[in-house]
Structures are given as C-alpha cells and as structure tokens.
C-alpha cells in the first residue's frame, strides 16, 4: 500500500507513512509549546521515538519538517474553523465562535497563542515556501470570516456597501494580535477585549 512520497521520491509504505505522521505530530506539539527555533531535531526524535535514519528518510532537514508541521497544523485549524464558522450568520454566532477560541486558550492562560499564527510569525521571514503555504491557509480562514460577514450582509445586518474584505482582515488581525497580547500577559483578557472591540465595530455598522 502506498500513501505518500518521501522527499527522494520513494513511495511510502503504510508503516512508513505512520512513522512520518508520528514525527510530524511530535514536531508540531513541541513547536507549539516551545517555538520553532527552540525545537531541535534531537528533541523531535526523542518525543516521537523515531530513529535519526527514519527522520532523514522522510525529511531532508528541519526546514522540510517545519513545512510538514505547517501543513498538519493548517489542516487541524482549518477543520476546526470550518466547523465553527460554516453555519454562522449572526453577530451572536460570531460571539460564540469567539467564546470557544477564548475558552480553549484560557485553559493554558493564553501561554501558547494560536498554533498557526505562531508559525506565521516565526517562519515566514526565512522560508518562502512555508510563507506561501501560511498565506494560503490564512486566506482560507479569513475567507470563512468573509463568508459569515456576507451572510450578515444578505440578511440586512451589514450595509451593502460595507467592505467585507477589510472587515474580515481587521477581525482576523484582532484575533491574531489578541492571541499575542494574551500570550505576553499570560491572561486572555486582552484577547477578549480586542475581538469584542472588532465585533462591536462590525455591529455598529448595522443599519438601524
């Protein structure tokens, strides 16, 4: 059975794919907790239980592993966000979406931030391929927010001339920046404030 290709073009067996997935998953967890640059390949080996030769069979080096982490984290976040935002068509629904994100982040006092946002700020200025992948993921995430805003517009809760792209970008920035502020303060309060303020602005545009 073949499931994926390794960097040298060799087909992967099911077992090989499983090892690769275990390495990427361990790397993603470590990088989420301690950051990309602080995570060494030795730590990834120790955490995944893989051997050095297994790791180098699948990845040419750390850069390639980081790209695989971006892909995995992207899949996880997008799956979560598609579920959370797919049917939202009210401001109240957006507040519930915010509540869930804050609640998840509060469990750790905001210590680790957004898995995808942290990757974006750490890798995008020295790996162009990873940056492009991240740009695509964020465009998709923001597209989900833009779809919600368009549904608000369709039901008359946003004026027809409101700039959906600008509002979706502003809301995403408030969320991402909120994560960073919470991380620094070790307190989710600034994250709650920043998203609330952005949502309040969107609500204030509603025709009375």
């Amino acid at each position: 059975m073949t499931t994926a290709n390794s960097p040298n073009g060799r087909r992967l067996t099911a077992r090989g794919a499983k090892t690769r997935a275990r390495i990427v998953s361990s790397a993603a967890d470590l990088m989420f907790i301690q950051g990309v640059s602080a995570t060494t390949l030795d730590e990834v080996l120790a955490a995944s239980g893989a051997s050095k030769s297994q790791l180098y069979h699948h990845f040419n080096g750390k850069e390639e592993l980081v790209r695989a982490v971006v892909e995995l984290v992207g899949q996880r976040v997008m799956e979560r966000e598609r579920d959370a935002l797919g049917n939202v068509s009210t401001i109240r629904g957006l507040r519930r979406w915010r509540d869930a994100l804050v609640q998840n982040n509060a469990v750790r006092h905001g210590a680790y931030g957004c898995a995808l946002g942290s990757l974006a700020s750490e890798v995008s200025d020295h790996d162009d391929l990873a940056r492009e992948a991240l740009a695509q993921l964020f465009a998709e995430w923001q597209g989900l927010l833009a779809d919600v805003l368009r549904r608000l517009q369709d039901t008359g809760r946003l004026p027809s001339d409101a700039s959906i792209e600008q509002l979706a970008t502003g809301l995403m920035a408030a969320l991402q920046g909120g994560y960073v502020l919470a991380q620094t303060a070790r307190d989710v309060a600034p994250m709650v404030t920043s998203i609330d303020m952005a949502l309040a602005h969107i609500e204030s545009l509603s025709p009375r």
């Binding site: 950051g35 970008t169 995403m172 920035a173 920046g177 991380q183 303020m197 952005a198």
Partner: protein
C-alpha cells in the same frame, strides 16, 4: 556561550523596546486630530514593514518575558493617552459647532481602543508579513481607529503629513 548569547539577545531586545517607546512617545503626543492620526498610522506601517527597523525586531519574537509584557503595557498606555486626548479634543470641537451628525468618537473607551490598536498592529503585521503586502496591516488599523476616521473615502490627512514637522 549559549547563555551569554541569550543575555546579549535580551539586552538587544530591550534596546529595541526602548527605541520604539521613545519614538512612539514623541509621535503619539503630537496627535491632535484625525489627519495627524493618519500620519501616525502611515509611519507606524512604514516602520513595521521595514524588516530591520526596531519596530519589526521588537515584534518579531513573541512569547512571555516580563520585559516584553512591560514594553507592551507602556506602549498601550501611550496609545491610550493619545486616544483620550483625541476624544477630548473632538468633544471640545463638537460643542463649538452643535450641528451635524453625532460624533462616533464620543462613546469611545480609550483603554479598550488602545488594546485593539495594539492587537491590530501585531496581528496586522503577521498577516502583512505572510502576504508581503501592507494592505492587511492598514485594514486592521483602519478598523481599530474607525471612530476617528472620516466616515467615507480616504482620510484627508493622507496627503498632508508634513515631514518637516514630524518627530524623528
């Protein structure tokens, strides 16, 4: 060796923090109207989009650290003061000319607005960094500062940022 490099990195970061606070303190204190606010935004975006500026360096690394927490808290306080001053000036101006629509800035909470501005410049920088384009950062700041911006069209301040009168 590693420890020493870490200490040097920490000292360097403190220098960037101090530099940003010094510039922001001067620039934010000069904001007296919407046009000057737009000039501040333009300079801020310029700084954040310049990879080696103290601004970009100060924001690059995230995470805890009491130095960073203090830096962000002081920056937030500077923005908060500027927003409070702007709200005050708008209120004084509005009482002079009683006609016209109600001022959207009147109900602004300076503290919460400052938190949003600080979040917008962080989140907007990340989005602009991955897009290699300043548009997301500007969109984020436009939303955060919306109560002080002209209701439609580009702010009149867009063309009148006088470089001779600006602070370094």
């Amino acid at each position: 060796m590693g420890k020493q490099a870490g200490r040097q990195g920490k000292e360097l970061m403190k220098t960037h923090f101090a530099e940003v606070l010094a510039r922001e303190s001067a620039r934010l204190a000069g904001i007296t109207d919407g046009a000057k606010l737009s000039c501040w935004q333009r300079k801020l975006v310029e700084e954040l989009m310049t990879p080696d500026s103290p601004y970009a360096r100060a924001l690059r690394q995230t995470g805890g650290g009491s130095d960073r927490a203090e830096f962000l808290d002081r920056w937030r306080a500077l923005i908060e003061d500027a927003v409070r001053e702007l709200v005050h000036r708008r209120a004084m101006g509005a009482s002079d000319s009683a006609s016209g629509p109600p001022d959207r800035a009147a109900g602004v909470d300076p503290h919460r607005t400052a938190v949003l501005v600080l979040a917008a410049l962080h989140g907007g920088s990340t989005l602009s960094q991955i897009a290699k384009n300043s548009w997301p950062l500007n969109a984020a700041l436009d939303l955060a500062l919306a109560p002080f911006k002209a209701p439609s069209g580009p702010d009149s301040g867009e063309t009148s940022c006088d470089p001779n009168r600006s602070v370094p």
